[in-house]
């Protein structure tokens, strides 16, 4: 599920001492000094030697340095600028057929060796309760390798003043265009992760991510109404060049209703549109509930994909490991084994991948040292596979892991998290405008809104940012108070058309929550604009007191 962590970070901006949920703050000039690889290797070797000597049959070591910078603005004010750093070592072992894990932020040979011995002791304690030994799919050691997110402009080198000015300019643009209030933020993440294992891998990775969410709020005091419009961008795995949008990165949504972005983002332009559209929403027509053909834009559909396909095909949920928290899944093993479970219509194809450049879950290797790969999850509408880690691969007859292991911190134990799970584009040429020509009674939905799904990923309800009525093949007027409800299997079987590759793009989340204690991960989901026929739409307008 998408956690409300972002709200907490946003709320924290108002209170000076509530910020540091991501680690220790550091000065900007210190961000560019990475830890020496040889030092990390010596720490890893110390841990692995100690673990092996203590009786571990396997050991992996993750040395992490996590650097973040957050800038929060409200209207024409910068509310906060925070640099954070967190670094330390996590050691996972198998001993007596069970896992053990221990972490330390003391980066000395003695300390990591002691953590390794502690991990072995925990594993031995857990082994007494183990029903069957951990079974790891083989991974070939890759020796000393390195991988880094490709980027052109390092966010760490961009002056804070320049970033703050961009956010304030965006807020001003939104207010000039009609918003009474604007909020914009800039989240910048650098994860330096070193992984070593007794399989013979020493992997040094350097990941960079950015997200700049904004919210425009328009108020009409006379009617006591207010409406918001969030930004239409998505978080990305790339450098600060993300904000250098060129004409080829911009295009018009169907009917020219707004501007959308691909590969780069014009924050100020989108803020201006947000301000204008937030005001327009105050007088938009309230939707008539009923069945509609929905035309869903990728920066909206990604969240529906995330909840109804991404989480539903996580193997640990299918097996019951998340039963007490995030839940289980309707996509049970018998459905997969039948090889004929119709998850969606025959045009529905989902691929899991960690290789698409710019996507949030794109890495060289996962947190078990497994090389990034790409595989089918749903093919021609049929459930054909899940997402698995090394210890789960054997359950679904895989000879190797699919590389789905991730931990959100050096101090957290790695476990199964989703890769990018994306809907493939249609094979026939089709634009969003073409798609709408075939719709008699429909709604075009753009942007992510409210979202909720049950604990087995059947029943869901989603809203968006912008809604437009479609009548007899044409977009007529904006709508408000729209949410659609469906059942995952019915919804994906109602998929009636997909735009082609030209329209395919990714949305994403920084705060996908799972596990106890809860961890967050970030993930992208791609799709083209897609149509779903006959979906139930409700009217969400209510009056209170």
């Amino acid at each position: 599920m998408e956690r409300r962590s972002f709200l907490k970070v946003g709320a924290a901006a108002g209170g000076s001492l509530l910020i540091p949920v991501f680690g220790n703050a550091i000065a900007a000039e210190e961000l560019l000094n990475p830890m020496a690889v040889q030092f990390k290797k010596s720490l890893a070797d110390a841990a692995m030697n100690a673990a092996t000597k203590a009786g571990a049959s396997y050991c992996d070591v993750r040395i992490g340095r996590y650097l973040n910078q957050f800038i929060t603005t409200r209207d024409l004010n910068v509310e906060n600028i925070v640099n954070t750093e967190s670094s330390g070592v996590g050691v996972r072992v198998i001993a007596g057929g069970a896992y053990g894990f221990c972490s330390t932020n003391v980066m000395t040979l003695d300390s990591v060796a002691e953590a390794a011995r502690q991990a072995v002791a925990i594993a031995r304690a857990n082994a007494k309760l183990q029903s069957e030994p951990v079974q790891l799919a083989p991974v070939k050691g890759v020796g000393d390798v390195a991988w880094a997110t490709p980027f052109k402009k390092d966010w760490r080198t961009v002056p804070i003043k320049e970033k703050a000015e961009m956010l304030i300019a965006a807020n001003k643009a939104g207010m000039d265009a009609g918003a009474n209030f604007m909020q914009s933020m800039l989240f910048q993440v650098n994860q330096q992760k070193y992984f070593a294992s007794t399989d013979g891998s020493y992997i040094d990775q350097d990941m960079h991510r950015l997200w700049s969410p904004l919210t425009a709020t328009a108020v009409d005091k006379a009617t006591n109404r207010f409406r918001t419009r969030d930004g239409l961008s998505s978080p990305v795995s790339m450098g600060y060049e993300f904000f250098d949008a060129k004409p080829e990165n911009k295009f018009k949504a169907a009917g020219g209703v707004t501007t959308l972005y691909k590969g780069a983002y014009d924050l100020i332009e989108d803020a201006r549109a947000a301000g204008r559209q937030a005001r327009e929403k105050l007088t938009a027509k309230s939707v008539e509930p009923g069945k509609y053909d929905l035309v869903l834009s990728p920066e909206h559909l990604f969240l529906t994909i995330h909840e109804s396909v991404g989480h539903a095909t996580e193997l640990d949920r299918v097996l019951g490991y998340e039963a007490n928290y995030a839940g289980t899944s309707f996509a049970t093993l018998d459905k997969w084994q039948s090889k004929k479970f119709k998850y969606g219509s025959e045009r529905v194809n989902f691929v899991a991948d960690r290789t698409t450049s710019g996507s949030l879950a794109c890495v060289g290797y996962d947190d078990e040292g497994v090389p990034a790969k790409r595989w089918d999850i749903i093919k021609d509408g049929i459930l054909v596979n899940y997402q698995a880690t090394r210890d789960q691969a054997h359950v679904i007859g895989e000879k190797e892991s699919q590389g789905c292991s991730y931990a959100d911190s050096w101090s957290s134990v790695q476990f199964q998290r989703m890769p990018n799970v994306s809907l493939q584009a249609g094979k026939k040429p089709l634009t969003p405008d073409d798609m709408i020509k075939d719709v008699k009674k429909g709604i075009y939905i753009l942007g992510r809104g409210s979202f909720s799904i049950d604990q087995q990923r059947y029943n869901f309800q989603f809203g968006g940012q912008l809604y437009f009525e479609i009548k007899n093949g044409k977009i007529t007027n904006p709508l408000e108070d729209v949410a659609y409800q469906s059942n995952t299997q019915e919804f994906w079987n109602a998929c009636s058309a997909l735009c082609d590759e030209r329209d395919w793009r990714m949305g994403g989340s920084f705060f996908d929550g799972k596990g106890q204690p809860s961890q967050v991960s970030c993930v992208s989901h791609g799709s083209p604009t897609t149509r779903f026929n006959g979906i139930n739409v409700i009217n969400t307008a209510r009056k209170i007191g």
Partner: protein, 445 residues
């Protein structure tokens, strides 16, 4: 974690305050020791202990502010944290809404520390897991659960003479028990500060009983029903609503508490007159720190809703000054008045209705009306003529807590718990509510 004493934290805070040349400085020093055990499929999957210390230094030059945190407390590290905060403050633009750090506060200690909780060890945690696993196995059920306990200290200080120190403890336990065929599921949750008020066997048995009773669920048509909401079913709904008790948002016209034409709805009757809600850092059941870490202001007993009327809103120091109000520390707990009636008594007084154990994945649909959506989960039952007649399939609801608190028939006995996704400590009753809006069915068990 080195469990620092009040004197030790005072020495560190004073040292930090003496190191800076900034116009003002705030210090927050805390340390925690958190143990956990997680189990699923009737076996322990993880267990661990996390110890951490954190020093947060916030400094300001004029209206330019910078924040640094560190988890080492030697003199060199303290100096480093102060210099980093100063560096950031120099880089930051002025914030016109910046407010000076508060003057000396009176923090009357609250009872947040319980030795029995601080003494919890791996054996205790393992025994918690064992209760539900063993009893589940005996009943041919499958248990998944999580137990975590925390013991921590917090110290705050600023350059205006503020100093506060307190220790606190807490534990949180949740367990989901499912039938082997996946057709039944039950759940229970307990969140208390004092381990002597926690009974893992009792909680596990509640989940086991609900799992056994919830198989063979029948479908009921979506619609408006009289519902009995157990405390866990309303915790996140109420937390959502109370997080919106912000005076600035209301005054600016972007809240359900905004008044037509401007201003807020303070003093207006928005709920049934049975609704009385307050915050009290000294409440023995849900005690919290007597200050608000964000503002460093002292918390007070606050009547939030009195006989159905809005009685208090939260003011930041900036907004309070602008509006000529007195700012106080934001609440850390929410307490709602109830009765002595058990849930069984509420059921006995119900002719037709739905009993809801828990609600799940609650999200805001429309902040204008606080319309929330979410689902029932892990034990939903149909009541007829004062008795639970049979389990029913889960529902999605679209409902506002404002409407819910307007439609109260009867209140039950308050229970201690924390919401799934809120930071409040809650003490809230079960409620029987009219016309609760279920909008669709879910096949999920």
């Amino acid at each position: 974690m080195k469990n620092l004493s009040q004197e030790e934290t005072k020495r560190i805070c004073d040292k930090v305050l003496s190191l800076t040349k900034a116009d003002q400085c705030e210090v927050n020093l805390s340390g925690s020791r958190t143990g956990n055990i997680r189990y699923a499929r009737n076996a322990v999957s993880t267990a661990g202990l996390i110890e951490d210390t954190q020093l947060v230094v916030s400094v300001a030059f004029g209206k330019k502010q910078g924040i640094a945190t560190i988890n080492e407390l030697d003199d060199k590290s303290l100096e480093k944290a102060v210099r980093r905060a100063e560096d950031l403050a120099r880089l930051a633009p002025e914030n016109p809404e910046f407010m000076p750090t508060p003057g000396k506060q009176q923090y009357k200690a609250s009872e947040t520390f319980f030795q029995k909780t601080a003494d919890i060890d791996p054996e205790f945690r393992a025994q918690v897991a064992a209760y539900s696993i063993e009893n589940s196995k005996k009943n041919k059920l499958v248990a998944a659960g999580f137990f975590t306990d925390t013991s921590k200290f917090t110290a705050i200080a600023n350059s205006n003479g503020v100093f506060g120190f307190q220790r606190d403890t807490g534990l949180d336990f949740s367990v989901t028990v499912r039938t082997e065929d996946g057709r039944g599921s039950g759940w229970a949750k307990r969140s208390v500060g004092d381990a002597s008020k926690f009974d893992a066997r009792e909680a596990s048995n509640v989940a086991i009983e609900k799992a056994l009773r919830s198989v063979e669920a029948k479908a009921l048509e979506p619609g408006r029903y009289t519902v009995i909401l157990e405390p866990a079913a309303t915790s996140d709904l109420l937390a959502y609503m109370f997080s919106g008790f912000d005076a600035r948002q209301a005054d600016e016209g972007r809240s359900f508490l905004s008044k037509k034409g401007g201003g807020n709805r303070m003093g207006e009757k928005l709920f049934d007159e049975q609704v009385n809600v307050w915050a009290d850092p000294w409440d023995k059941n849900v005690a919290v720190l007597p200050w608000d870490n964000g503002s460093m202001l002292a918390r007070e007993h606050q009547e939030l809703i009195k006989n159905g009327k809005i009685n208090a809103l939260n003011y930041s120091t900036y907004w309070a000054k602008k509006q000529g109000k007195r700012a106080i520390g934001a609440p850390g707990n929410i307490i709602m008045a109830g009765t002595d009636k058990s849930t069984e008594e509420l059921i006995a007084n119900t002719k037709k209705g739905v009993l809801v154990t828990r609600t799940w994945y609650i999200r805001m649909v429309d902040p204008q009306s606080v319309l929330l959506t979410g689902l029932t989960r892990d034990g939903t039952f149909y009541i007829e003529n004062g008795k639970i007649k049979h389990p029913i399939k889960n529902f999605r609801f679209n409902e506002s807590p404002v409407s819910m608190l307007n439609n109260i028939d009867e209140l039950g006995k308050p229970e201690i718990l924390s919401g799934d996704e809120s930071d409040y400590q809650l003490l809230i009753p079960a409620m029987r509510v009219r016309d609760f809006n279920f909008t669709s069915l879910s096949d999920a068990v």
